[in-house]
Subunit: 210 residues, 2 copies
Amino acid sequence: MHIGKDAILGCEKQFRTNLINSVSGFKSASLIGTISAEGRTNLSLFSSVIHVGANPPLLGLLMRPLPGERHTYRNIRRTGCFTVNHVTEAIFRKAHQTSARYPEDVSEFDACGLSPEFSGIHTAPYVKEAAIKIGAAYREEHEIAANGTVFVVGEIVEIMIPEGMAGEDGYVDLEKAGSIAISGLDGYHSTNRIARLSYAKPGTEPKELH
Amino acid sequence: MHIGKDAILGCEKQFRTNLINSVSGFKSASLIGTISAEGRTNLSLFSSVIHVGANPPLLGLLMRPLPGERHTYRNIRRTGCFTVNHVTEAIFRKAHQTSARYPEDVSEFDACGLSPEFSGIHTAPYVKEAAIKIGAAYREEHEIAANGTVFVVGEIVEIMIPEGMAGEDGYVDLEKAGSIAISGLDGYHSTNRIARLSYAKPGTEPKELH
């Protein structure tokens, strides 16, 4: 099935939204926790968190110019911090529900039945029920001229991982920790590890790591 | 297990690389196909492809200042186009092998046993053995000041999807198409759909979509 440029631009809006949101591949499932200058907590589901670099430790996420994400963005700019909390199968329905358009004076923590938790290192709230949790400090942003979205980069300032999920080589077993993946706008997936492969070198078959 | 900023910065390089590459969550697994001005094909595995927007249809990927990715970047800038080819379980070992540092005059297609395929719409090569395939035109780039990586944005100009994988609402069943996910630097995962959930609205429980 071939879909050309004219067909993509010509298709019905919701069809195109689902299609283009799907074809980029599997995505991370993260709840971004922030707090306003007035102390109001906010929680929003993102599927655009990506690795940016290990030294300094950086991650990035794309924010869309939508009302829900505007609260998150404004809080990050005002307070300089945010948390990234991995969604698990146990909380994916609540995580999905944070994407509903709640009024500004409603915290998605309360509305969706999740518990804020604070580390003392910064003011942004973590999600108590999440597995892997990351605290990040705002570093920089880049506006995408083509559609007005903003790529925000944060520096990782602390990481919380359930006991026994990080190996001796630093690899974190996301599957064992229960982290899930997203497809499209609304598909949630658990995973099965096929293999870990050794560092690739020309002329050598990669080996499985155990 | 709590890892603070000093512990992150103080840990051994490979440990930190594995740790930080893992904690951002599951990632897409894509082979980026490009061609040089002289007609030499290039193929490189990326786990940073993300959705940027549906209208216009955009995706983005983060490129690191490494030798392998420099060929990809240079080809994209010279020719203005690239392809995104979803990795499947059938080709993940070959896909991983493209990340080995081959000399510039070696095509990873030949070295790793994958077949280039051309659509006629642009010059960049697709991977015949891949499932979902996307052709993209270079639109813009943003250098991340914190570490010198570059976020490249491309506009989707064509999409190839195996027959029967796209639903009536435009959602593409990545799992059925065999697309896989990556964790860390070297973990490959197949997926099991938990559910698709309906559009979230305040005060309403999301329903499962079938």
